[in-house]
């Protein structure tokens, strides 16, 4: 009986590791921020879920599997939300996703990541103008710092969300 359990958990662990590995490779090879986020977020949640499932079977009837289940639930909720918040913040800060055919030529690695236009209050400030003033206006990349001051009007935001 436990031999079967061992085999199944071994398979699950292998699959989970493969997922995470695939995510890592995906982040390396993808050209654009959004595609990278796509690769990282999906495999991150999936891989973690598989690994935890694999460990669950090893736990037997002690308290460990219950704790593992709690961890799984917590991860299952937070990691997709974190990815969503990250992508949303990037979208708001005006980083436009660039399709390949839009410019024909394959994108040079560095250039794709440059934010094309920074939609400030007056939509004028260019990427170079990222002094303290601009930093205080844009939402920080990570949601943890998304409590920036209030100069940005809601209208500007709806327009940005609608347009891209």
């Amino acid at each position: 009986m436990d031999l079967a359990l061992d085999i199944i958990s071994a398979i699950l662990l292998a699959a989970g590791t493969f997922f995470v590995f695939a995510g890592g490779v995906g982040v390396m090879r993808m050209p654009d921020f959004y595609t990278r986020m796509h690769a990282a977020s999906l495999t991150d949640t999936g891989g973690a879920a598989l690994i935890i499932a694999g460990l669950l079977l090893q736990g037997g009837l002690t308290l460990a599997p219950v704790k593992l289940l709690a961890i799984f639930l917590f991860l299952f909720l937070t990691s997709p939300t974190a990815s969503y918040a990250l992508v949303n913040a990037a979208l708001l800060s005006g980083l436009k996703p660039r399709a390949r055919n839009e410019t024909g030529a394959p994108l040079p690695e560095g250039e794709a990541l440059q934010p094309v236009t920074r939609l400030g209050k007056r939509g004028t400030n260019t990427p170079q103008d990222n002094t303290g003033k601009a930093a205080a206006k844009q939402p920080a990349a990570k949601k943890a710092a998304a409590k920036k001051p209030a100069e940005k009007k809601p209208a500007a935001n709806k327009k940005a969300a609608k347009k891209s």
Binding site: T81, Y84, A136, K143, A144, K147, P149, P154
Partner: protein, 330 residues
């Protein structure tokens, strides 16, 4: 053998992250990397059998300090404009420091060999006497709160002073309550309005984070946990709420007078327990005299002292976060 492989991998990752922090230009990246640095450090501690310290480093090092750095970055500049200054003085002093340490460490005992001096003098007494005198499973909490309780009292006051410092430096800004109308408040928290999903999921999680913090607080005697970790966790929960709802709502949930009361009361509770021990005729912080049965006295003493630490650390972390958050709203 396995631990050697784990620690080799984690330690090399640690050095890589540290060098990456040194070389990045963008401060946000540097702060994220310092969060990863703390998490790797916590993983290292866990591999080296230090569960309590791993939990503390994860909560305070990766959690709270990253939030403080991001709070400060939102108020200062994003770019590290300093030119890669190639001056020789830092290079020479750093390598001299490293050389001296490597010279000395050659004679240090190998990692984990049991007959090192460190394992044969004071440690066995703690491991042997804790079940007898204090009867608490977690020896680290016993040493932290009782055998070396005076150290931890000093520690609570170090955290207390951090709060004093931030209040005296950033506390001067009086948010002009009267002049802030409701519309402006609505607009201020609009930055999170369309972050609907993080708000819903976050508000679902906050109670569980605070519950886990309380579990760690009162579970400190039996497993890894205690006042510092619990304070950090509860504060992280409330800071998450403030982030999602806007720091204005966060201050309505936990008002400023309440956090400063928590800070002062936690420190007073810890010192008060010590003074009660003195009044009952024992030395300062000698919990055995609290009740007739010394072991019961130790249990209650440790519980109260850890509660004092938890109160102070929670109050300080929330006050410091709000001081940074409110500074931007001026």
């Amino acid at each position: 053998m396995m631990t050697i492989v784990f620690s080799l991998f984690l330690l090399t990752m640690l050095v890589l992250v540290a060098v990456a922090i040194l070389r990045t230009e963008n401060l946000f990246t540097a702060v994220m990397l310092s969060g990863i640095f703390s998490l790797l450090m916590a993983a290292n501690f866990f591999v080296l059998d230090a569960a309590d310290v791993a939990l503390t480093e994860a909560v305070i090092g990766a959690g709270i300090s990253t939030v403080l750095f991001l709070g400060a970055l939102a108020l200062t500049s994003e770019k590290d404009r300093s030119p890669p200054v190639g001056s020789w003085v830092p290079l020479i002093s750093a390598s001299a420091l490293g050389a001296v340490i490597i010279y000395a460490v050659m004679q240090a005992p190998r990692l984990g060999d049991p007959n090192a001096v460190v394992h044969n003098h004071v440690a066995p007494w703690y491991l042997e006497k804790t079940p007898e005198l204090i009867d608490v499973p977690n020896v680290v909490t016993a040493v932290l709160a009782s055998f070396r309780g005076y150290d931890t009292l000093g520690e609570v006051f170090v955290v207390f002073i951090a709060c004093m410092g931030v209040m005296s430096l950033l506390g001067r800004v009086r948010p002009r309550k009267d002049s802030i109308k409701l519309t402006e408040y609505e607009e201020r928290s609009r930055n999170l309005r369309h972050h609907l999903i993080p708000r819903i999921v976050g508000k679902m999680l906050v109670p569980f984070i605070v519950l886990f913090g309380l579990y760690v607080q009162f579970h400190g005697d039996f497993g890894p946990g205690g006042g510092f970790q619990a304070g950090g966790l509860i504060a992280a929960g409330i800071i998450l709420y403030s982030l999602l709802e806007g720091d204005w709502r966060g201050r309505e949930l936990v008002p400023e007078w309440f956090t400063s009361l928590m800070v002062a009361m936690g420190a007073l509770l810890y010192a008060g327990v010590g003074v009660v021990c003195m009044l009952k005729g024992g030395h300062f912080l000698n919990y055995s005299v609290l009740f007739e049965d010394p072991i019961k006295g130790q249990h209650i003493g440790i519980l109260l002292v850890e509660l004092g630490v938890g109160l102070t650390v929670t109050g300080v972390m929330i006050t410091v976060f709000h001081a940074f958050a409110r500074r931007g709203v001026r």
